[in-house]
């Protein structure tokens, strides 16, 4: 049996004016478990708290009910008060007789009756309270960033600068990601490589950052502060420690017919290759599928000519197990497959290209050395049509329902770059809407139209057809209500972007949830946009949703700040109001596991004593460090094995009973 003290607050006149506080204190005296009750002007004041502390000592109270303002206001205060008097802080219940009583009722009698009922409910609940202690777990002071694009690099740099160890895992042979492929960036038109490559170098050189390129995350276990991750370091076939990056091997490699991933397949590369000149690490990798040595056993040229003796055909994949306190997903994006949009002839005509391909054509280090040319005949195009929203904002199966966010701006950029290089070119941009929310964005777009004479046409392209070596573009001009037919030399499609396909598997490994488009979901769409619902897992860059470089960098910094906040703690103190499994009652059905948004519930085979029978059973187990205490599992559990501490089934029913009495 509890010994409960009830403390009714006047809150000056806020409560006392409408509620007869003394009557409340008297009425609850006869409630089961109540050993003491009183009222006072301001319970939250030092004087009020002293009354509580003294009463706890004097009446040997095991719990207190404070009838006062909303628990959202002073629950924490009174928990501290209880704790200083030696009570468990969770043996405190608040009856909200201000916001939910005195402030909304005018009739003193009715308000008093209601206050008594609310106080009784709190007493009834407290009778079933038990002391709760928050669990503590240590924090491994090391972070893992998955993905080495601008998002991952920035997050890693920010974390490392705060003094914590960071590992970057990148699945391609180099960091840099999509930003490395860009020519210029909007809205300033500065060179992408000029701003990215120093950051790549910084990341590689940072003493706190370790790069694992050509590597993938294979297994994740553990929970916030204590993840254990297996990383597969794929065999490069080149010893990174020995390689000097001289490039002789690539030059001599006889297999030169592979498509360059970096150049979007617009040029070829050798089987042993470095993706691009500024790649980091500047160590080649052998594409074993394309390598003659690996395919036929005959060749070995690269090994023979390598003066550093770095080429190693025997190299094997390596699995490393590392421990981390936090994980950041920065897996980025790719452009969608346009093969199914037959109306644009992308798969059929070499002169219909994606914007990312156009980006490579513009780039001085690209396959055409920066010369924009028709891929069919290597001539400079005279009329170029840009089509926006290709696959974006589309409900058809091969499209995406969302706005890809970056296309309006890069299309304006491309139109300008083209006009800059070839002022005589006729440039059309077909748009549904031009969306330019961002600093200097609308000005940038207007410059394209006003200063560069790019023809913006409101309407969609309906059909592209190859005719006499040119492209017949049929489109509508909705403003003029006309159908246009343009003889173009090149069509550039602003393809929708989608999350990198590797994210899906990663989400499963991290038990992080995804939306229907495979973007990672955030813990709260407004208030926790860089955290995933899984504690200790953070989101950076486009893997969370389409965004441009400035947004990505800001989010990367935000994710880093969250990681730093976590790693700065020595121990994590959990919320003690977590779910718990009553093992003898558990059926092992997995229903709770399915509704847990935090992946906090796992199942294990355990020996359970059930009424003297000992047996091995599959039972649920709650990881208290991950559980946030929502209670979804408790209602899903048919046998009532799952219950939520602080809000148990019996407690809520006791409140119901007390209210309805």
């Amino acid at each position: 049996m509890q010994r409960i003290g009830v403390f009714v607050c006047w809150c000056g006149s806020n409560i006392a004016a409408t509620v007869d506080v003394d009557a409340v204190a008297q009425a609850v005296k006869t409630e089961p478990g109540v050993a003491f009750s009183t009222n006072y002007q301001y319970m939250c004041s030092e004087g009020g708290q002293a009354i509580i502390r003294n009463a706890i000592a004097e009446h040997k109270l095991t719990g207190i009910v404070v009838c006062a303002c909303s628990p959202r206001m002073h629950e924490a205060t009174f928990r501290k008060t209880a704790a200083t008097a030696g009570l468990n802080p969770y043996m405190v219940e608040i009856a909200n007789i201000r916001e939910q009583c005195s402030w909304i009722h005018k009739d003193r009698e009715k308000a008093t009756v209601k206050a008594i009922i609310l106080s009784r409910a709190a007493v009834a609940k407290l009778n079933l309270d038990s002391p709760l202690t928050a669990g503590e777990t240590p924090v491994t002071k090391r972070a893992l960033v998955i993905g080495g694009g601008i998002a991952g690099i920035q997050t890693a740099l920010d974390i490392a600068d705060a003094g914590y160890e960071v590992d970057i895992v990148e699945k391609t042979p180099t960091i840099g990601g999509k930003m490395a492929m860009l020519d210029k960036t909007f809205p300033t038109l500065d060179c992408s490589a000029c701003i990215l490559t120093p950051k790549m170098v910084d990341a590689a050189a940072h003493e706190k950052i370790t790069l694992y390129t050509y590597s993938e995350v294979e297994k994740v276990s553990g929970f916030v502060g204590n993840f254990t991750v297996d990383i597969r370091k794929r065999a490069r076939s080149v010893d990174a420690d020995r390689c000097t990056g001289c490039g002789d091997c690539m030059e001599k490699c006889p297999s030169k017919k592979s498509k360059s991933e970096f150049n979007q397949g617009l040029s070829n590369r050798s089987a042993i290759y470095i993706p691009f000149a500024q790649a980091i690490p500047n160590v080649p990798v052998i594409d074993r599928e394309a390598c003659i040595k690996f395919q036929t056993g005959k060749c070995g040229v690269c090994q023979k000519i390598c003066s550093a003796k770095a080429v190693d055909y025997e190299q094997q994949d390596e699995i490393m197990t590392r421990r981390y306190g936090a994980i950041v997903a920065a897996t980025g994006f790719k452009t969608i497959n346009l093969g199914r949009f037959e109306e644009f002839q992308y798969a059929q005509s070499p002169d219909v290209i994606t914007s990312l391909e156009f980006e490579r054509l513009c780039n001085a280090a690209g396959p055409t050395k920066g010369k924009v040319m028709r891929l069919s005949n290597h001539e400079t195009p005279k009329t170029v049509v840009f089509v926006q929203c290709v696959g974006s904002r589309s409900t058809v199966e091969c499209g995406k329902t969302y706005c890809s966010k970056i296309c309006c701006m890069y299309t304006a950029k491309h139109a300008m770059l083209l006009k800059e290089k070839y002022p005589e070119t006729e440039v059309y941009v077909f748009y549904i809407d031009v969306r330019t929310p961002g600093k200097g964005f609308d000005e940038f777009y207007r410059r394209a139209a006003e200063e560069y004479g790019v023809r913006y046409v409101k309407g969609m392209v309906g059909k592209v057809a190859e005719e006499n070596g040119r492209l017949r573009v049929q489109a509508s001009d909705l403003i003029a209500d006309k159908q246009l037919v343009i003889e173009a030399d090149m069509v550039v499609l602003a393809a929708a972007i989608e999350p990198d396909p590797s994210a899906r598997n990663l989400a499963t490994l991290l038990t992080a949830s995804m939306d229907t488009n495979d973007f990672f979901t955030e813990a709260h769409p407004k208030l926790r946009p860089v955290e995933s619902p899984t504690a200790g897992v953070y989101l950076s860059g486009v893997c969370q949703g389409p965004k441009d470089i400035p947004d990505t960098v800001s989010q990367a910094g935000a994710a880093a700040a969250k990681v730093i906040g976590l790693l700065a703690k020595d121990k994590l103190v959990g919320n003690p109001c977590v779910a718990g499994c009553n093992e003898p009652l558990c059926n092992g059905c997995s229903a709770c596991e399915l509704v847990c948004p935090y992946g906090a519930i796992t199942y294990e085979e355990k020996t359970v004593m059930d009424h003297g029978v000992r047996e091995q059973r599959r039972v649920a187990s709650v990881n208290e460090a991950l559980c946030q205490g929502c209670g979804a599992c408790t209602v899903t559990c048919p046998s009532g094995a799952m219950d939520l501490k602080g809000f148990t089934n019996l407690q809520i029913m006791a409140e119901v009973d007390a209210i309805c009495r």
Binding site: R393, S394, V396, G459, M460, V461, G462, Q474, S476, Q483
Partner: protein, 136 residues
């Protein structure tokens, strides 16, 4: 008899099975339409008019009979609005006062005979389309 044009418009939209509210005014339907030049009201406007309940406008438009039912707009529409189905529904209402069973198979030859006189008035593809629909 229907007096309320708004209800009529709603009925037409419902019958067509389309959701005109999904239209984001991209104009791809008009861009792709092979009969665009022959039309006074273009496919995207057709959708807008249906949305606004302008049934009279739809019924008296030339476009109503110029649409080939080629379904290019249905195929290309990124939002699944399907303007051609809307046009079909309006046609149904235009024809329905002419008899309960709308167009009977035996009237089709009359259309064909008139073809020479009327020339481009009745596109052949429309008749093919009609055959497909009414030859049950």
């Amino acid at each position: 008899m229907r007096v309320d044009e708004k209800t009529l418009a709603e009925d037409i939209v419902r019958m067509s099975g389309t959701n005109v509210k999904k239209c984001m005014k991209c104009g791809k339907c008009s861009a792709t339409c092979p009969s665009f030049e022959d039309m006074d009201v273009h496919p995207h406007s057709f959708v807008t008019m249906a949305e606004e309940g302008d049934v009279a406008g739809l019924l008296k438009s030339k476009s109503l009979w110029k649409c080939l039912s080629c379904f290019a707009c249905v195929e290309r529409c990124p939002r699944g609005v399907e303007p051609a189905h809307l046009i079909e529904a309006v046609r149904f209402f235009a024809l329905s006062p002419q008899g309960l069973n709308k167009m009977k198979p035996d009237v089709v030859p009359i259309f064909l005979q008139n073809l020479e006189e009327k020339g481009a008035e009745v596109p052949q593809q429309l008749l093919t389309s009609a055959f497909r629909k009414y030859s049950k």
